[in-house]
């Protein structure tokens, strides 16, 4: 029994660790989409955050600088995206895809001299006394800074969207940019901030990979997690706390299939590898079905460019 619990605890810690990049990137994208901007460049922004964070720690030595650098690089990518879609009013889908392709190439180039090097990882922060609670203490109260930060961000944006004035304005811009504009809200400026916040979160999410999971740099090391983050936003039907559930389910299935293989469950490994993605598609299908009946949760102006001279 004791041994089983120790294994369980180790596996839960692994699930949490593998979910955090998804959680952060999806949270950022949620805010972006709430403002009416669909940014498909999440994968690219995560990659930029990862390479920026790795380089910063390599030069400055302290893993906390990596968080700042990751956030900065993600936000920088998002602001490049914003210039195109807000100022030049380009198609958001095409520009977002372009951003990911661009960032993949750029990070490959910028990361070339970083290959083969390693950095110190983010330290775990123990919360006094609470971390000594058997089993759950280790899981809930002995995480690194980014893990706590991601939960804090979720709590903050839940409050922000629901109760704060700027949050309500943000939703208004996403739901009907013409009305928001005619009431006098600066639609472009608000979308710019929201997109940059999304980039910042994606950057930190990407940064988590070299800072906490695998302290090296490898090209395309985010491995498609940006796309999963996009799916999670729909899965959560734009409600922040549901992202936590979605990310943990995805992480849980990912780890469960590895455990299944290690214990020799008689299911083909190819099928097990597909499981997290199948589950995502399955969840999306169900949710989309519901959304078509109740459209109110989808930001109505999502993906539509805003022309302020109309």
């Amino acid at each position: 029994m004791g041994w089983g619990l120790i294994v369980m605890e180790a596996l839960i810690l692994t699930i949490i660790a593998t979910s955090i990049p998804l959680l952060l990137a999806a949270t950022g994208e949620l805010i972006t989409e709430k403002s009416g901007v669909l940014n498909l460049g999440v994968e690219g922004m995560m990659l930029s955050g990862a390479v920026g964070a790795f380089a910063a720690v390599l030069w400055l030595g302290n893993p906390y600088y990596g968080i700042i650098a990751g956030a900065f690089c993600g936000a920088l990518m998002a602001s490049i995206f914003s210039i195109f879609i807000i100022n030049f009013m380009t198609n958001q889908v095409a520009t977002g895809l372009g951003l990911t392709i661009f960032a993949t190439g750029l990070t490959g180039l910028a990361g070339a001299p970083l290959i083969g090097k390693t950095i110190p990882s983010l330290p775990k922060i123990e919360i006094f006394l609470l971390s000594d609670i058997p089993y759950i203490g280790e899981i809930l109260f002995k995480q690194d800074f980014i893990a706590y930060l991601s939960i804090a961000i979720i709590i903050f944006i839940t409050y922000f969207l629901k109760y704060s004035k700027p949050g309500i304005v943000l939703r208004a811009v996403g739901d009907n940019h013409q009305s928001a504009h005619s009431v006098g809200y600066p639609v472009k400026k608000i979308r710019w901030y929201a997109t940059c916040f999304g980039g910042l979160c994606a950057g930190v999410g990407g940064a988590y990979i070299p800072l906490a999971l695998t302290p090296h740099w490898a090209e395309e090391m985010t491995g498609g997690r940006g796309w999963i983050a996009l799916a999670l936003v729909v899965f959560a039907s734009w409600i922040p706390w549901r992202i936590i559930i979605g990310a943990l389910i995805f992480g849980g299935i990912t780890i469960a299939q590895l455990v299944g293989q290690s214990r020799g469950w008689p299911i083909p490994s190819q099928l097990l590898s597909m499981m997290p993605y199948l589950a995502t598609i399955f969840a999306l299908t169900i949710i989309s079905g519901r959304l078509s009946k109740n459209n109110s949760v989808v930001p109505s102006s999502l993906g539509k460019p805003f022309f302020d001279n109309q």
């Binding site: 999971l213 695998t214 090296h216």
Partner: protein, 369 residues
Amino acid sequence: MIKFCMRFFSLMALSSSVLFFLITNTFAGNPTKVGFVYLHTKEDFGWTMAHEMGRQMVEKHFGKDVKVTEVNNVPEGPDSTRVIRELAKQGNEIIFTTSFGYMEPTHKVAKEFPNVKFEHITGYKRSKNVATGNIRFYEGRYIQGVVAGLMTKTNKIGYIASFPISEVVMGINAFALGLRSVNKDASISVIWVNTWKDSVKEADAAKVHIAEGSDVLTQHTDTPAMLQIAEKSGVLGFGQATDMVAFAPNAQLFSSINNWGPYYIKKIEQLRSGKWNTGDGPKHWAGNEWGGLKSGMLTISKFQNMPNDVAQKAQKVHDEIKSGKFKIFAGPLIDNKGKEIIPAGKSLDDGALWGMNYYLMGVNGNVPG
């Protein structure tokens, strides 16, 4: 008018490209033109970097006598057909395509360019102008198994595998044979990650292995993620393709290092002297070049993080394989269901190795697919 313009420009383009071709061929002297197609970038610190080091050996060896063109980051599939064809069009006389997934594209282009020689790495199909080359990776795996068997305390070994192709299965089985030669109680559990390169997934698989009680890990994937997790968790592991000691100074037991240079040089020399061949023959399964420790295509980094007697034993096994005194896949071989594959006194030939779709004794589970 538009039609005329289009005709005019296409004529211009055509004539200028012909002119360019003539000029480059007349004034470039006469170096042998060699092309390389890489799967990742040369900085991947694994598979492609090992090929890049081989390519650098070629340049150093031949100097001005060869002109090398390499193309990075070529995805397996239709895209690679385009790249290989382009290299053939540019007048490369020999083209090395350095990943298993380039097999069909290589053959497709080879039919279109019968005078160009192709060398497909790790494939099994050959034709008149397509040869194959490979490394006997499994020799390193056997030594890993021996070291793992002597170092494990939990008697559980965690293996992270990429795709269920015979090359990988062969490696698992060689590891199992090495393991069981020194430790009959130890067993291997395999996690297939279905990717060559995904740091996070490899790290997750390593963490799961450790949580499940493995204390020695090995990988048949390309990133150093597994070793970094091993280092963090205080367990041991082996590096892949290049020496990964920098990532895990306290965890790496040794790395098997791929050394493609001698093979590249040999094949280019064959081409230059007009003796290039595909080395086909009966029972000569993997073409003309399937080299291991003996030919120097596989080397082993320093044995470390192990007691002296383990290192000595590993060195002894290494020397015996290298000298050809010891055959790894020698009978009696029994699969993990208890069925005898071959009896004592016989050993598997190369063809049988490439048909491996079963686990030998000591490996848990079934080969997927």
